[in-house]
């Protein structure tokens, strides 16, 4: 089986700046694949190359088995793209945004209308079909953009930060729709800097930092490999959390000092919290939780994802 995305040593430069610095990626049909990383990690540049709207500077890139440099229009005909910033057509209505977009793919008018109605129903916007785009909420606009990305029945959907800037309720609605697509067997490729998004949606992901891939695997396997089972978050009433680091020595596998708290990486969170109390360090706050991708990222790069 050929990969839908096949990249080897892929590089993107803008003048002197290298946005993507030699990455290898393979995405299989039916997968939900994620690029996880902070802003500026090179995720969007990678997505634009995959979407065939930005030529690679160097390296191998094959999309759907075709060469983006030569077969751009043929590849784009089979992709759905949901960009980071909505670029809906503000001069058209909600429904027209879908029917007009379908025409760019050469879909007949009647079929375009049929698909538009079906997709509006799918993203729960049927009642707003004749409204202009402007008055829609952020979540509605994003759902409309996702519907627009589906209008050509794509083999693969690219979603760049699909829920950035949405309130929690709107995010869950988007996730739920994306999960539905995934169940239908649509290949999803998304970028995100939200841990929970990556954990909820991705079968497999790569962690990017500074234009490079620093780790790859399923969310669970990444956590197992790069973190411990549980984490104890300690907050001390001081401006200098680091001063407590020495006093915590020996508890758990390792610790991370952040400006506002200390993270203890341990197998048994409650046991570790008891040990902290035995040493009478009296932290102002103690939180025991399971490890997440945030911890993986912190371990790999020494930085938090969302600043």
């Amino acid at each position: 089986m050929t990969s839908l995305i096949h990249a080897r040593g892929l590089i993107k430069r803008f003048g002197d700046f290298t946005a993507v610095d030699g990455i290898d990626v393979d995405v299989q049909r039916g997968e939900a694949f994620g690029f996880l990383g902070p802003n500026g990690a090179g995720k969007s540049s990678t997505m634009r190359m995959i979407g065939c709207v930005s030529p690679p500077s160097e390296g191998v890139l094959e999309i759907l088995g075709l060469d983006p440099r030569r077969d751009g229009p043929r590849i784009r005909a089979k992709l759905g793209v949901c960009p980071q910033l909505d670029n809906l057509d503000i001069e058209l209505t909600v429904r027209e945004n879908l029917t007009t977009y379908a025409r760019f793919f050469g879909i007949a008018r009647k079929e375009a209308r049929r698909r538009a109605d079906e997709l509006l129903d799918f993203v729960q916007l049927t009642e707003r079909a004749d409204s202009k785009v402007e008055p829609l909420s952020g979540g509605m606009k994003r759902r409309l953009t996702i519907a627009r990305a589906m209008v050509n029945q794509p083999e693969m959907v690219l979603l760049d930060e699909p829920t950035t800037g949405l309130d929690p309720q709107a995010r869950h609605l988007v996730w739920e729709r994306l999960f539905r697509l995934k169940q239908q067997g649509v290949t999803l490729v998304l970028t995100t800097h939200y841990m929970d998004e990556a954990e909820q949606l991705c079968d497999r992901l790569v962690v990017m930092d500074g234009g490079r891939i620093v780790a790859e695997g399923s969310p669970r396997s990444l956590i197992e490999r790069y973190s411990t089972r549980e984490v104890v978050e300690l907050r001390f009433n001081t401006d200098d959390q680091a001063a407590y680091a020495d006093k915590l020595a020996g508890i758990g596998d390792r610790l991370e000092v952040l400006p506002d708290r200390i993270l203890l990486y341990v197998e048994d969170g409650d046991g570790a919290a008891d040990e902290v109390n035995r040493r009478s360090l009296s932290p102002a706050g103690v939180l025991v939780r399971r490890s997440s991708l945030e911890d993986v990222f912190l371990h790999l790069t020494g930085r938090t994802l969302v600043d």
Binding site: V53, N87, D89, T100, F104, G106
Partner: protein, 269 residues
């Protein structure tokens, strides 16, 4: 009904079909308020024709064309107004509106994620600008003919000529728009456009100016357009009009090439 049958009769795949989908998008944006824009664009050349062609013309009397034919002043001015309105119509759509779509509403970014390519957007926008320009031109030639400034047969031949003028200026406008950076630069375009309008043999034959100025006028695109349409309108065509046609075709090809390349460069970094 026509739109439903057309695609099946004309199998136009690839570039033509994709460019047409961009034109179609613009047609979808048409709202009832658009007629205000249409009326103002149509009125401008008509007002010039009556105020200067007929009004000032009464003081001037007749004018001798380069070939020796003598025509009334209104007959002299009317075809120039037609050429100028074809220019204005094409530039309105391909400068101001095109710039907004390129830089601010991110419209093309969405379109380029589909199989449509930058040059096809340029072609589609140009076709759209022409649709608007042709309506102005058709209305204007009807007025010219009713005023007895030309004949119905000549009016029919003038229409495709105005289309050519529109295509050349539309392509030029797009090329210039991909180069300019801010809304302020449109003042420069407007100034240049007005200078062309005043001096391209529109109200005064270029022979009335000193030799150097005359040459300068004769190489401008609007002069070549005026020359072509005036010859058709007064029935005084000759070999020189083939030069006009070649000039305008070359301008169109150049403009489209530049616009397509620069759009690709700016939108697909």
């Amino acid at each position: 009904m026509v739109t439903l049958v057309m695609p099946r009769l004309l199998s136009f795949e690839g570039t033509g079909r994709r460019a047409a989908s961009v034109t179609e998008r613009n047609i979808s944006t048409l709202r009832s308020a658009y007629w205000v824009v249409m009326v103002s664009g149509f009125l401008e050349p008509v007002l010039y024709l009556f105020s200067i062609g007929v009004g000032v013309g009464a003081l001037i009397g007749d004018i001798t064309l380069p070939g020796g034919d003598v025509v009334g002043y209104a007959e002299f001015v009317a075809p120039a107004m037609l050429a100028a309105s074809a220019m204005t119509g094409a530039l309105a759509e391909t400068t101001f509106n095109f710039f907004g779509k390129m830089k601010f509403v991110r419209l093309y970014e969405g379109i380029l994620a589909t199989p449509v390519r930058p040059i096809e957007i340029a072609l589609g926008e140009l076709a759209w600008a022409m649709a608007r320009g042709v309506i102005y031109s058709a209305a204007f030639v009807v007025i010219m003919t009713l005023m007895g400034l030309t004949t119905w047969t000549r009016a029919l031949i003038m229409l495709p000529a105005t289309l050519l003028v529109g295509l050349a200026f539309g392509a030029l406008g797009m090329a210039v728009t991909t180069i300019i950076r801010s809304w302020q630069d449109f003042d420069l375009i407007a100034a240049g456009q007005f200078a062309l309008f005043l001096f391209s043999g529109t109200f005064v034959p270029p022979t009335a100016y000193p030799e150097v100025v005359r040459w300068l006028i004769e190489v401008t695109p609007l002069y070549r357009s005026v020359d072509l349409i005036r010859a058709l309108s007064t029935g005084t065509t000759g070999w020189l009009q083939l030069l006009d046609v070649a000039y305008l075709l070359a301008l169109m090809a150049l403009g489209l090439t530049v616009a397509g390349r620069r759009m690709a460069k700016q939108l697909t970094k």
